[in-house]
């Protein structure tokens, strides 16, 4: 990783890479698991998963870099490796990871199996990264998105990025555009499903005293965006007040949760998860995938989606 970088900087970049199962954010946020997507989609599309080694590594480094930037921009609790040195160091490490990922993508031009697809894949990476940055820009500049805006932002960030992993992997396995598009849509819906789970992550603290609820983050989460959009009048005012007071007031926090639940948010979230689960699987089936890889891709979705 990082040809040209100095040893201590390489060491810092290595420290930023999570160790898989020890990742604090739960298995659906383990990027090393999702880095299997390009290889599986390549194999499912008729290629050899090994052709995607550089691509998968690049996607993983992009994922980690974007996650670091997101944490800094959202002023999240720092990860241990940058707690002492601060956000400036974290941003520099993220920049190093972006450039390392770009070096890895360039390797696609070196090998016979991947060189013909390399221009398409690298162009797609850069294009989709600008879409993701646009989504992040809108997220940062719009503190209270509507429900439609929430879904647009989620699509530009998570949907786009997971769609990219699958589309780029499939592109190394086949030239057939309709097949490649099906994998892109599979990844998109998987990414949306992951985004919903990610938003729910912040609600863990409601049951666990060891993980305090970050109410400031929750204001832009899907459950709150949905409830604020649906409620009007006194319920809306009450929810806003409770959300504002919830950080230091348990009674306000309990009332906020009761108002959220009273809006039907649990049923709404599960319905949306069922939507993205079904559409991911439908697109996977349309791609007519090789069975062995398809089984893994389907399991990824079923493992995190609601039961049928």
């Amino acid at each position: 990783m990082g040809a040209g970088a100095w040893p201590d900087f390489i060491k810092a970049m290595h420290r930023a890479v999570p160790s898989g199962s020890s990742d604090k954010k739960g298995p659906d946020r383990d990027p090393t698991k999702w880095a299997l997507l390009p290889g599986l989609c390549c194999q499912a599309a008729g290629g050899d998963a090994r052709w995607t080694d550089s691509l998968a590594a690049a996607w993983l480094l992009f994922y980690i870099a974007a996650d670091i930037m997101d944490s800094v921009e959202d002023q999240d609790e720092p990860d241990p490796w940058w707690q002492e040195s601060g956000p400036g160091m974290a941003i520099n490490v993220a920049s190093g990871l972006y450039f390392s990922a770009s070096q890895l993508l360039n390797r696609l031009y070196k090998y016979e199996a991947t060189q013909s697809a390399a221009p398409d894949v690298t162009k797609k990476f850069l294009n989709d990264f600008l879409i993701m940055c646009s989504g992040q820009h809108r997220d940062l500049t719009n503190p209270e998105p509507s429900l439609d805006q929430y879904w647009q932002i989620a699509a530009a960030k998570s949907g786009c990025f997971f769609g990219l992993a699958c589309q780029a992997g499939a592109r190394l396995g086949t030239d057939e555009l309709n097949i490649i598009s099906s994998y892109q849509r599979y990844g998109y819906h998987l990414g949306m499903l992951i985004q919903i789970l990610d938003d729910l992550e912040d609600f863990h603290g409601l049951q666990s005293s060891s993980t305090p609820v970050k109410w400031t983050t929750l204001k832009r989460s899907l459950p709150v965006v949905y409830a604020l959009q649906m409620y009007s009048g006194s319920n809306e005012r009450q929810l806003r007040q409770c959300l504002n007071d919830a950080s230091g007031d348990n009674k306000a926090a309990e009332e906020a949760v009761a108002l959220l639940e009273g809006s039907g948010v649990v049923v709404y979230l599960i319905s949306e998860m069922a939507r993205h689960r079904d559409q991911a699987i439908e697109n996977l089936e349309q791609a007519n995938p090789q069975p062995a890889a398809a089984e893994f891709l389907e399991t990824f979705v079923r493992d995190i989606g609601p039961p049928e």
């Binding site: 789970l197 009273g262 649990v266 079904d278």
Partner: protein, 71 residues
């Protein structure tokens, strides 16, 4: 947006929720809502999984534990 509106109405309007249980298409038409067949299926999944085995409403904090296995 329409799926969200239907879910919200179902949670705040008992009569609509009861009518949905008997005749989903009729309930939607009476309220002026339009949902595709697929959306109706997603909502059915939401309603089914929105209750635990003992028919209790699933709490938001329980849903947050979804990755550790469904209720």
């Amino acid at each position: 947006m329409s799926l969200a509106q239907v879910v919200y109405s179902m949670s705040t309007d008992n009569e609509f929720a009861s009518q949905w249980n008997l005749d989903p298409e009729g309930a939607l038409a009476d309220k002026g809502f339009q949902l595709s067949r697929e959306e109706q299926a997603f909502l059915t999944a939401g309603l089914k999984n929105g209750r635990s085995g003992d028919n209790r409403k699933v709490r938001l904090s329980e849903l947050a534990l979804v990755r550790r296995g469904w209720m």
